[in-house]
């Protein structure tokens, strides 16, 4: 066992463990958005650890360079996927509002629908008081 072997021996199981916990979360978490978090992010961390562990087993740097490409690719795609899936989840109404502490997007949508036009969410930034109306609206009483 050389030093690089030890690094691999630590990083790989750690990465696999992260991935495993993420997928356990996929089974056990009660909400779709929660499962989305659990599925996407710990998997990425796990894959990254495994890739670093694998890179230490390769003979030279030029052999390990493509692994960097895989890691880079994963890191650029995960935000896109997470955001798309999150938006679709919300727009399909499967976001389980009863399990949320606050849902300020629902408030904004409600106010927009009640007031009926696109002036409702407050002034755009750059005008006199950005966020002013927005903040006031958020302070209105709400059913708890």
């Amino acid at each position: 066992m050389t030093a690089t072997d030890w690094i691999t021996a630590v990083l790989m199981p750690a990465g696999a463990l992260f991935t495993l916990i993420g997928t356990i979360g996929l089974v056990r978490l009660p909400t779709l958005l929660g499962r989305l978090h659990a599925a996407a992010k710990p998997d990425t961390v796990g894959l990254l650890l495994i890739l670093v562990g694998a890179a230490f087993q390769l003979p030279n740097i030029s052999a390990a360079a493509p692994l960097l490409l895989v890691a880079l690719f994963q890191f650029t795609t995960i935000p896109v996927l997470a955001q798309t899936l999150g938006r679709v989840t919300y727009s399909r109404g499967e976001s389980s509002a009863e399990r949320m502490v606050v849902d300020e997007l629902a408030d904004a949508v409600r106010h927009a629908e009640r007031d009926g036009d696109d002036e409702t969410l407050g002034d755009p930034p750059g005008t006199d008081a950005p966020g002013r109306q927005y903040g006031q609206r958020q302070q209105r009483p709400r059913a708890q």
Partner: protein
Amino acid sequence: MSAVGDRDHRTTYRRLLGRLPTVVWLTVMWALLWGDLSPGTLLAGAGVASLCYAAARLPHLPVRLRVRPLYVTRLAARIGWDLLWSSLQVAFRILWRPAEVRGAIVAVPMRTDSDLLLAMVTAGLSLVTGSLVIELNREQGVVYVHGIPIDSPRAAQNLRRRVRHTEELFVRAFGTAEDVARFEAAEEEFAELLRASPAPGGGHVGKEGA
């Protein structure tokens, strides 16, 4: 007549120059994928990259960034730390009473107005475990972030603070001088508003309940 031709010539030239970084980047990817750096590979890579670029007809976005190494380091450290720490947090909650895990969607007004910076901020937020941008309201510059696990209004405040801190680091790491100045002006305006109408719970726009 000749002036017009000259201008056309120059814009074509500039457009090609603007595309150069993308082509170079694609060529580097190609070389990485093949795993060797011989001139033949590079040439073929550049050829394929320009061909794909021409075929895809991508819109040309003006990229105006200034990189400040100190803040980039801080940003990278921040995101790396967030990634690891919140992964551990989420992992813990998955193993310990997962049925009670609750989340929250908070609205966070953004202080920057640059498309590119906003895209970077939302990507950075969605990358980190436990936060996810659901919606971005471009006109008002408000992002709606879903966070997990969040059990109390205080945890929601924490999420809000984290989002704002990430935004600040992104602006200071990559924003042009103009972006940073605008950011600071917006920051100042927010502070003014909060002094005028002190809101409970740490002074951020958008409160839990009344």
